[in-house]
Symmetry: C2
DNA sequence: ATTAATTTTTAGGCATACCAAAATTAATAA
DNA sequence: TTATTAATTTTGGTATGCCTAAAAATTAAT
């Protein structure tokens, strides 16, 4: 298997089950990778042979220790590059995902560690995702989703789980950036949409969007 | 054809005939790409169909205007990255070639132009090779090889044509870096090796090495 | 518990990009 | 000019990584 293929599978499996408790379904993998489920089955069998995953037919998949290490190193590369693109090269948080998707496959530890050093070994990337250190150790946190927020409470935006340009530009427009303080004014019973107050302005957040915003109680 | 494959073929054809006058042989291409000549024939037929090259059976290959533009953009990416790695990230000129070989395939003009801007739009890379500008325009020069130097003359080192770590480390050891002034003390009749004086020390250069050093008369 | 819906797997195929060995073509030397 | 050598192309074959359609297995619903 080509390294890039392996890396993309392992990274995606990791992203679908970062704590490695849950087992990952082929369907979800196929969706994320934009390929046919039949191809996923085939690939997982090979990844199992290569000892990167434990794949049990018609049940699910999880990373082995080796697979997990490799996945973490890809995730590290991706997140370090995203941070570098934003902090050092002046890109917006809404335009770095695609580029990092390519840069993450450049295999050179010295390069990534150098970038990390220049950035002061950051622990979070521009989307609030934790960056594994050179050993693969990753910051744990107990943040919640905005969709789980309670009415009248104050929160701080800590991250996003959708990295698409469209979504991030929408957030920018309403000043819903990482670090921003927000208050949950009300939750519509009808459709579960959330009315937020951010910088004294009201914003209506759809349930789908609220599911992609990570917050911490204040 | 995968873009990376196309890019590697076009870049290699360009490097073997940068002025696009000479026609490139399959054998040389196969050598540079470390693949079988039969595979080269096959690939060239496809590149011809795709209008990137004009390939005439049993005669040779040259780039079309389209192919030349693409080749120049890969060469630009490669050389900008090499320069960035050396100047901004502290790598040695002997360790950047391999990394740039991967980075050159990252497709994002804004990124490359940003890097170029940070570097002050350099015209030469760390090995003395000219960097095409964003439009593909490239600096012409009439440098010669050290192997063509004349006795007793003074020269300035302008570049190298071999980018291997081994060769560059050897040059470093004798202070034969870009910009260094050298004097040709003598040329051995026996084997054409050259005795140089650089920083008051004598160095004996083999014909093979002399063929990889680019100089300019002083 | 049986049916229905969904997910996963199998089977058969296709394009890419490489290979080795044989055949052809071109270049060089006698 | 012919023979020899070298380069190129053809032929047939391989592994990868994807596909569609059909079959099988699992899960959910009645």
């Amino acid at each position: 298997m080509r390294t890039e293929t392996v890396e993309n599978y392992l990274k995606t499996i990791y992203n679908l089950s970062s704590d490695n408790t849950l087992v990952v379904s082929n369907q979800k993998l196929a969706d994320k990778l934009s390929i046919n489920p039949a191809s996923v089955t085939e690939a997982l069998r090979k990844l199992h042979e290569l000892k990167y995953v434990i794949y049990e037919k018609s049940y699910g998949t999880r990373l082995t220790t080796t697979g997990s290490k490799l996945a973490l190193s890809i995730v590290r590369r991706h997140r370090i590059w995203e941070t570098y693109l934003v902090k050092e090269l002046g890109f917006g948080w809404d335009e770095v995902h695609e580029i990092a998707e390519e840069l993450e496959h450049v295999k050179n530890d010295k390069l990534i560690n150098k970038l990390a050093e220049i950035l002061g070994n950051p622990v979070y990337d521009p989307h609030g995702d934790p960056i594994p250190d050179a050993k693969g150790k990753i910051q744990k946190s107990n943040f919640i989703k905005l969709s789980e927020a309670r009415i009248k409470n104050n929160y701080k935006i800590m991250g996003v789980t959708d990295h698409s340009t469209a979504f991030l530009k929408y957030l920018d427009k309403h000043h819903l950036v990482i670090g921003a303080s927000v208050n949950v004014k009300s939750i519509e019973e009808f459709d579960n949409s959330i009315v937020l107050v951010c910088q004294k302005k009201e914003v209506n957040i759809s349930p789908k969007a609220a599911d992609c915003i990570i917050i911490e109680g204040l």
